[in-house]
Symmetry: C2
Subunit: 455 residues, 2 copies
């Protein structure tokens, strides 16, 4: 064991990032702009401000400023649970018998249990600063809703969460955590919104999707004075806030002179991966260094590996702007057998553009192999991972095993985005041998693709 | 805000304790020895070794060695989740408007979710070193069982857990975490042991108690070759291992020149409190410093505040040694309305002796006021506390509020022993206004007292 590198690298408070990194500013080929679903013209600041907080709209549209100051109030909040540790997986390396060095950035050390809090607190802060009464949002597996509830509670904002129905039912205790933080939680689709009622009429037995829940949350925000909608992934602003993950990771690695070869993250809407890779990708785009980046997604929701790169609606109800992204079609709903998050039909435009230009790889993995990796990791490294994060674990382990075969001493860094305390029902299924894999056929996917507008 | 003291004080790996502190070595009045339930003579090393691992028996009986080396393997494991942060509750202080400074030692930053892992890993290590196949234990709220499952998984030991039936039913996902770590979990009382069958015959509708589960686990250990019994609290050895909490806390405080006035911990069997106060109490016993210590227990299981100081059985089945301790009687079972742990009928002999000599205070609190404090704390400080830990939060807040009234700038340190992710059913009850308080009448208690042997 290398005694010089501790198990956990914790930064000092003075080493914490004071600015977020805006990856788009480093890209020659910028992600395409959001389009107004009526006019198909780029969304203006005024249009976006009807839905989002003003300061967040500015961040959303800014693709030139490389670094943006983190407000002091957010830095103060970050200090409550950051820095997140960068952990050397000594035990995992030993157990795998790999010459690779494995590090993971653990974002689960806060009550929301995931990295989502990094953006939740920023979005709540700007909402409060604008004098709003509250915010609305959607949540899938519940991590984002929990994070936002905490952030809203901190700033005294009202918080309305539309939770994808199947998660609401699979994770009864998630709701209670959100209630503990004072949030109001509604299973989606619901009868409380026009778009929810319309979706229920068309698909009465639907288990819901993020796309549906987004439509409902947007409607709820725009119909009520003093409310705005906030989103936990996909948007540029979210990637901006999440860059704190990558910045801390890079500072910690630099401190010990470690250069990663491969950086791996799970990808649903892309918030964690976009944040983790931000400073590394910025270096790569500037030709200062080279790294391999791997986005890991569920085989049951294969946005990057089998989706189309096209303008598409961000939500099922088609009330949101269109985004150019890898997409499975806004009507795509993963099989009910799919456990955990990473179930969004699209991918943030920044990562979509980078992937399209060959700057990032993607891999789809099946959930039983993901839970195998999760349990293996839990027993070796102690931390009980969220199913989402375990996608990254699966591929990190696969890459480390390859190193064992080739004898290469690569340095692998992956994002351990959160904990699995609220996913025990899925673990139970896995333990009882009741978990199945689902890979959509080309025919299944073609139905979703049919709904992608021709732009 | 005092910029010099960070939100979280993390020690460097080099500052971690290398030795546990054996508080009994500092006591002039030693805790009374364990007695053989048949002969009523002090338990010998040979007798204890039939139930416990040999090295742990030595630790159990050693009341003279002040410091005991922590084996390198355990230090390595500790590095995976320690140091635990000592957190300055700046936000809580501000919200309460108190001049008091509040610090909490947070032991929930590991998958088992509590401080129990500190002793679990030590006990599993000694079991492995002795060449055993596995260990048996009981668990109440599930924290100890989870911790032991993790520790056994790490060392490749079989782990059989008897879980108090009402917790088993209230916390369906706890079982899955233990299974994830490879443990076998049985609700107690069960029909798998003779003592379990006997208890079920006498009390067919019992929701179980730690005392029952201990009896079953001891029977299961002694009947099977290569197994020993391990216990997560009450014993001297457990307090020894848990001293790592207090030692880290003291190092962190000393580093910033902070002297606590009041040290507060919840107390069920006493493992966390005994560990937290160890180095401070050692100073007090040596006349080097003075501190106030407050043990907080549930009003529904008021061992210290309303119990008797006497020799009593450690378990309901009366198969374990007798211990001189504050006790409610080994047949005492708290009301089913009682949520969370801290439901043991006795208190570790060391704390009992210190309390009896007036070196420590005790306070009983009702559970609705505990959950009020828990929710308040969660919203302000972010961390979702376990109900057990929230007993300490309640009294820490009460003391801070007193400081507000008197203007005193006291320094309060409390132990935040764990997280409440698996306690959402209790939080739900609290949110829905369905949580009730229960204070046993003197008549209720007298039934338990009647079973205390006359020794």
């Amino acid at each position: 064991m290398n005694k010089q590198i501790p198990y956990k690298i914790y930064l000092q408070e003075s080493e914490l990032p004071k600015q977020w990194l805006n990856l788009r500013a480093f890209m020659k080929n910028k992600p395409a702009p959001l389009l107004n679903p009526q006019t198909l013209q780029p969304m203006t600041q005024a249009e976006l401000s009807q839905v989002f907080c003003e300061e967040l709209v500015k961040q959303e549209l800014d693709d030139t400023t490389p670094y943006i100051d983190i407000p002091e109030e957010i830095i103060d909040f970050y200090k409550m649970y950051r820095p997140a540790p960068l952990i050397r997986a000594y035990c995992l390396e030993k157990k795998l018998g790999t010459p690779a060095h494995i590090y993971y950035k653990f974002e689960g050390n806060n009550t929301s249990g995931s990295h989502k809090l990094n953006s939740a607190i920023a979005q709540a802060y700007y909402a409060k600063k604008q004098g709003l009464t509250g915010v609305t949002t959607e949540t899938g597996a519940g991590q984002w809703g929990t994070a936002l509830s905490m952030a809203c509670s901190y700033f005294g904002l009202d918080c309305k969460v539309f939770m994808v129905k199947c998660s609401y039912e699979q994770k009864p205790f998630r709701r209670e955590v959100m209630r503990t933080y004072g949030a109001n939680v509604t299973p989606s689709p619901s009868t409380t919104t026009a778009v929810g009622r319309k979706i229920l009429e068309e698909f009465p037995n639907t288990s819901g999707s993020l796309g549906c829940a987004i439509s409902e949350a947007v409607e709820a925000a725009t119909e009520k004075e003093g409310y705005r909608y906030v989103l936990g992934s996909v948007l540029n602003q979210v990637l901006l806030h999440q860059s704190v993950i990558g910045l801390e990771t890079k500072t910690a690695l630099d401190k010990y002179g470690i250069t990663p070869d491969i950086i791996i993250g799970c990808a649903g809407g892309g918030s964690n991966l976009g944040g983790l890779i931000a400073p590394f990708m910025a270096e790569k785009l500037q030709g200062k260094a080279d790294y391999r980046f791997i986005a890991v997604e569920p085989a049951s929701c294969p946005t990057l590996t089998r989706g189309k790169y096209a303008y598409d609606y961000c939500d099922t109800g088609k009330v949101c702007p269109l985004s150019k992204m890898y997409t499975l079609g806004s009507s795509f709903i993963p099989s009910a057998s799919h456990a955990g998050g990473l179930r969004y039909h699209g991918m943030t435009s920044t990562l979509s553009e980078l992937y399209d230009k060959g700057l990032m790889e993607a891999r789809a993995v099946e959930q039983t192999s993901v839970f195998e990796a999760a349990e293996y990791f839990a027993r070796i490294e102690g931390i009980l991972p969220a199913p989402e994060s375990s996608h990254a674990i699966r591929v990190a382990m696969d890459e480390a095993i390859k190193c064992k075969e080739t004898g290469e001493k690569k340095t692998i860094v992956f994002g351990l985005t959160g904990t699995g305390y609220f996913d025990m029902m899925s673990y139970e299924k896995f333990h009882d041998g009741k978990m199945t894999d689902y890979i959509p056929t080309d025919d299944d996917l073609s139905k979703g693709f049919a709904g992608i507008p021709k732009i």
